[in-house]
Symmetry: C2
Subunit: 123 residues, 2 copies
Protein backbone atom coordinates (compact mmCIF):
# COMPACT_ATOMS: atom_id res chain seq x y z
CA UNK A 1 0.00 0.00 0.00
CA UNK A 2 1.46 3.35 -1.00
CA UNK A 3 1.14 6.56 0.95
CA UNK A 4 -0.45 9.66 -0.55
CA UNK A 5 2.08 12.03 0.97
CA UNK A 6 5.54 12.38 2.48
CA UNK A 7 5.98 14.74 5.42
CA UNK A 8 9.49 15.81 6.45
CA UNK A 9 10.01 17.33 9.89
CA UNK A 10 13.30 19.21 9.95
CA UNK A 11 15.05 20.27 13.13
CA UNK A 12 17.55 23.02 12.40
CA UNK A 13 19.82 23.58 15.40
CA UNK A 14 22.94 25.74 15.65
CA UNK A 15 21.85 28.04 12.82
CA UNK A 16 22.97 31.60 12.25
CA UNK A 17 20.79 33.62 14.63
CA UNK A 18 21.23 36.70 12.48
CA UNK A 19 19.90 34.91 9.39
CA UNK A 20 16.98 33.40 11.34
CA UNK A 21 15.79 36.89 12.27
CA UNK A 22 16.01 38.27 8.72
CA UNK A 23 12.53 38.00 7.19
CA UNK A 24 13.68 38.70 3.63
CA UNK A 25 16.47 36.16 3.85
CA UNK A 26 14.27 33.40 5.30
CA UNK A 27 11.57 34.05 2.68
CA UNK A 28 14.13 33.96 -0.14
CA UNK A 29 15.63 30.71 1.20
CA UNK A 30 12.30 28.88 1.42
CA UNK A 31 10.99 30.11 -1.93
CA UNK A 32 14.28 29.30 -3.66
CA UNK A 33 14.35 25.84 -2.06
CA UNK A 34 10.80 25.18 -3.29
CA UNK A 35 11.63 26.29 -6.81
CA UNK A 36 14.96 24.46 -7.03
CA UNK A 37 13.38 21.23 -5.75
CA UNK A 38 10.73 21.30 -8.46
CA UNK A 39 7.75 22.76 -6.62
CA UNK A 40 5.09 25.03 -8.10
CA UNK A 41 4.33 27.85 -5.65
CA UNK A 42 0.67 28.82 -5.42
CA UNK A 43 0.83 31.22 -2.46
CA UNK A 44 2.91 32.26 0.53
CA UNK A 45 2.73 34.26 3.73
CA UNK A 46 5.70 35.36 5.89
CA UNK A 47 5.71 37.36 9.12
CA UNK A 48 8.27 38.91 11.44
CA UNK A 49 7.51 38.73 15.11
CA UNK A 50 8.24 41.24 17.84
CA UNK A 51 10.85 41.19 19.28
CA UNK A 52 12.37 38.37 17.22
CA UNK A 53 11.46 35.40 15.08
CA UNK A 54 10.05 34.69 11.65
CA UNK A 55 7.22 32.41 10.56
CA UNK A 56 6.61 31.51 6.96
CA UNK A 57 4.42 29.22 4.94
CA UNK A 58 4.65 28.46 1.24
CA UNK A 59 1.68 26.67 -0.32
CA UNK A 60 2.81 24.64 -3.30
CA UNK A 61 0.86 22.61 -5.80
CA UNK A 62 2.62 19.62 -4.26
CA UNK A 63 1.48 20.65 -0.72
CA UNK A 64 3.48 22.99 1.61
CA UNK A 65 6.69 24.16 3.22
CA UNK A 66 6.57 25.80 6.64
CA UNK A 67 9.25 27.35 8.81
CA UNK A 68 9.30 28.92 12.27
CA UNK A 69 12.47 30.44 13.69
CA UNK A 70 13.73 31.13 17.21
CA UNK A 71 16.84 33.29 16.69
CA UNK A 72 17.38 33.46 20.46
CA UNK A 73 18.06 29.71 20.42
CA UNK A 74 19.70 29.58 16.96
CA UNK A 75 16.89 27.13 16.15
CA UNK A 76 14.28 26.74 13.43
CA UNK A 77 11.58 24.12 12.89
CA UNK A 78 10.66 23.42 9.28
CA UNK A 79 8.29 20.96 7.68
CA UNK A 80 7.76 19.94 4.08
CA UNK A 81 4.69 18.07 2.91
CA UNK A 82 4.86 16.56 -0.56
CA UNK A 83 2.33 14.60 -2.56
CA UNK A 84 4.15 14.62 -5.88
CA UNK A 85 6.66 12.49 -7.73
CA UNK A 86 8.31 15.47 -9.40
CA UNK A 87 8.92 17.63 -6.32
CA UNK A 88 11.93 16.41 -4.30
CA UNK A 89 11.28 17.28 -0.65
CA UNK A 90 14.68 16.06 0.55
CA UNK A 91 16.37 18.36 -1.92
CA UNK A 92 14.37 21.30 -0.56
CA UNK A 93 15.25 20.24 3.00
CA UNK A 94 18.96 20.06 2.19
CA UNK A 95 18.89 23.53 0.63
CA UNK A 96 17.15 25.05 3.66
CA UNK A 97 19.61 23.36 6.06
CA UNK A 98 22.58 24.58 4.04
CA UNK A 99 21.40 28.19 3.62
CA UNK A 100 20.41 28.66 7.25
CA UNK A 101 23.85 27.30 8.12
CA UNK A 102 22.57 24.70 10.57
CA UNK A 103 25.42 22.98 12.37
CA UNK A 104 23.17 20.26 13.75
CA UNK A 105 20.29 19.41 11.42
CA UNK A 106 18.05 16.35 11.53
CA UNK A 107 15.21 15.13 9.33
CA UNK A 108 12.35 12.80 10.21
CA UNK A 109 10.34 11.40 7.30
CA UNK A 110 6.74 10.41 7.93
CA UNK A 111 4.52 8.77 5.34
CA UNK A 112 0.98 10.16 5.37
CA UNK A 113 -2.30 8.82 4.04
CA UNK A 114 -2.22 5.07 3.81
CA UNK A 115 -5.80 4.73 2.59
CA UNK A 116 -7.34 1.33 2.12
CA UNK A 117 -8.88 2.13 -1.22
CA UNK A 118 -5.65 3.41 -2.77
CA UNK A 119 -4.48 0.09 -4.18
CA UNK A 120 -7.66 -0.47 -6.13
CA UNK A 121 -8.65 3.12 -6.94
CA UNK A 122 -5.33 4.48 -8.13
CA UNK A 123 -4.53 4.09 -11.78
CA UNK B 1 14.11 20.22 29.11
CA UNK B 2 11.02 21.73 27.52
CA UNK B 3 10.24 21.79 23.82
CA UNK B 4 9.70 25.05 21.94
CA UNK B 5 6.82 23.69 19.88
CA UNK B 6 4.14 21.04 19.61
CA UNK B 7 3.38 19.60 16.19
CA UNK B 8 0.20 17.59 15.66
CA UNK B 9 -0.10 15.37 12.59
CA UNK B 10 -3.75 14.57 11.96
CA UNK B 11 -4.91 11.75 9.70
CA UNK B 12 -8.52 12.29 8.67
CA UNK B 13 -9.92 9.16 7.05
CA UNK B 14 -13.50 8.41 6.06
CA UNK B 15 -14.42 12.09 5.70
CA UNK B 16 -17.23 13.51 3.61
CA UNK B 17 -15.76 13.63 0.09
CA UNK B 18 -18.16 16.39 -0.86
CA UNK B 19 -16.98 18.60 2.01
CA UNK B 20 -13.30 17.89 1.25
CA UNK B 21 -13.75 19.25 -2.26
CA UNK B 22 -15.50 22.44 -1.15
CA UNK B 23 -12.85 25.17 -0.94
CA UNK B 24 -15.04 27.64 0.94
CA UNK B 25 -16.12 25.02 3.47
CA UNK B 26 -12.58 23.77 4.15
CA UNK B 27 -11.30 27.34 4.52
CA UNK B 28 -14.11 28.24 6.91
CA UNK B 29 -13.48 25.09 8.98
CA UNK B 30 -9.76 25.73 9.41
CA UNK B 31 -10.11 29.45 10.12
CA UNK B 32 -12.92 28.83 12.61
CA UNK B 33 -10.89 26.09 14.30
CA UNK B 34 -7.92 28.44 14.63
CA UNK B 35 -10.04 31.21 16.09
CA UNK B 36 -12.00 28.99 18.46
CA UNK B 37 -8.81 27.39 19.77
CA UNK B 38 -7.32 30.76 20.66
CA UNK B 39 -5.04 31.41 17.67
CA UNK B 40 -4.28 34.80 16.14
CA UNK B 41 -4.39 34.52 12.34
CA UNK B 42 -1.71 36.53 10.52
CA UNK B 43 -2.22 35.22 6.98
CA UNK B 44 -3.72 32.39 4.94
CA UNK B 45 -3.70 30.89 1.46
CA UNK B 46 -6.16 28.29 0.11
CA UNK B 47 -6.32 26.70 -3.34
CA UNK B 48 -8.62 24.37 -5.22
CA UNK B 49 -6.95 21.86 -7.48
CA UNK B 50 -8.06 20.51 -10.81
CA UNK B 51 -9.84 18.12 -10.97
CA UNK B 52 -10.31 17.75 -7.20
CA UNK B 53 -8.68 18.53 -3.89
CA UNK B 54 -8.02 21.52 -1.69
CA UNK B 55 -4.84 22.72 -0.02
CA UNK B 56 -4.82 25.37 2.65
CA UNK B 57 -2.38 26.97 5.05
CA UNK B 58 -3.15 29.37 7.86
CA UNK B 59 -0.21 31.21 9.40
CA UNK B 60 -0.95 32.05 13.00
CA UNK B 61 1.03 34.04 15.56
CA UNK B 62 1.38 30.72 17.36
CA UNK B 63 2.76 29.00 14.18
CA UNK B 64 0.53 27.29 11.54
CA UNK B 65 -2.31 25.01 10.49
CA UNK B 66 -2.11 23.17 7.18
CA UNK B 67 -4.56 20.91 5.38
CA UNK B 68 -4.46 18.91 2.15
CA UNK B 69 -7.49 16.97 0.95
CA UNK B 70 -7.98 13.96 -1.34
CA UNK B 71 -11.77 13.79 -1.88
CA UNK B 72 -11.30 10.74 -4.11
CA UNK B 73 -10.08 8.82 -1.06
CA UNK B 74 -12.30 10.62 1.51
CA UNK B 75 -8.97 11.53 3.15
CA UNK B 76 -7.30 14.68 4.40
CA UNK B 77 -3.91 15.26 6.02
CA UNK B 78 -3.72 18.16 8.47
CA UNK B 79 -0.96 19.47 10.71
CA UNK B 80 -0.96 22.01 13.48
CA UNK B 81 2.22 23.57 14.81
CA UNK B 82 1.92 25.49 18.07
CA UNK B 83 4.48 27.38 20.11
CA UNK B 84 2.09 29.04 22.52
CA UNK B 85 0.54 28.33 25.90
CA UNK B 86 -2.70 30.11 25.02
CA UNK B 87 -3.48 28.38 21.71
CA UNK B 88 -4.90 24.88 22.21
CA UNK B 89 -3.83 22.78 19.19
CA UNK B 90 -5.81 19.71 20.28
CA UNK B 91 -8.97 21.79 20.44
CA UNK B 92 -8.34 22.98 16.88
CA UNK B 93 -7.67 19.38 15.80
CA UNK B 94 -10.89 18.13 17.37
CA UNK B 95 -12.90 20.86 15.63
CA UNK B 96 -11.40 20.03 12.23
CA UNK B 97 -12.03 16.30 12.71
CA UNK B 98 -15.63 16.93 13.73
CA UNK B 99 -16.49 19.37 10.94
CA UNK B 100 -14.95 17.29 8.17
CA UNK B 101 -16.96 14.37 9.56
CA UNK B 102 -14.00 12.00 9.76
CA UNK B 103 -15.11 8.51 10.73
CA UNK B 104 -11.56 7.38 11.41
CA UNK B 105 -9.33 10.16 12.72
CA UNK B 106 -5.96 9.84 14.43
CA UNK B 107 -3.57 12.36 15.93
CA UNK B 108 0.19 12.04 16.45
CA UNK B 109 1.81 14.63 18.73
CA UNK B 110 5.46 15.45 18.19
CA UNK B 111 7.45 17.78 20.42
CA UNK B 112 9.76 20.06 18.43
CA UNK B 113 12.83 22.07 19.40
CA UNK B 114 14.52 20.58 22.42
CA UNK B 115 17.36 23.08 22.49
CA UNK B 116 20.18 22.70 24.96
CA UNK B 117 20.21 26.35 25.94
CA UNK B 118 16.49 26.51 26.71
CA UNK B 119 16.72 25.58 30.38
CA UNK B 120 19.18 28.36 31.15
CA UNK B 121 18.10 31.00 28.60
CA UNK B 122 14.34 30.94 29.07
CA UNK B 123 12.92 33.23 31.69
Amino acid sequence: MDALGTHLLIELKECSSELLNDLDYVRDVVIAAANEAGATIVGHTFHKFDPIGVTGIVAIAESHIGIHTWPEFAYAAADIFSCSDTFEPHRAADLIIQRLQSGQPSITEIKRGFVASLATSAT
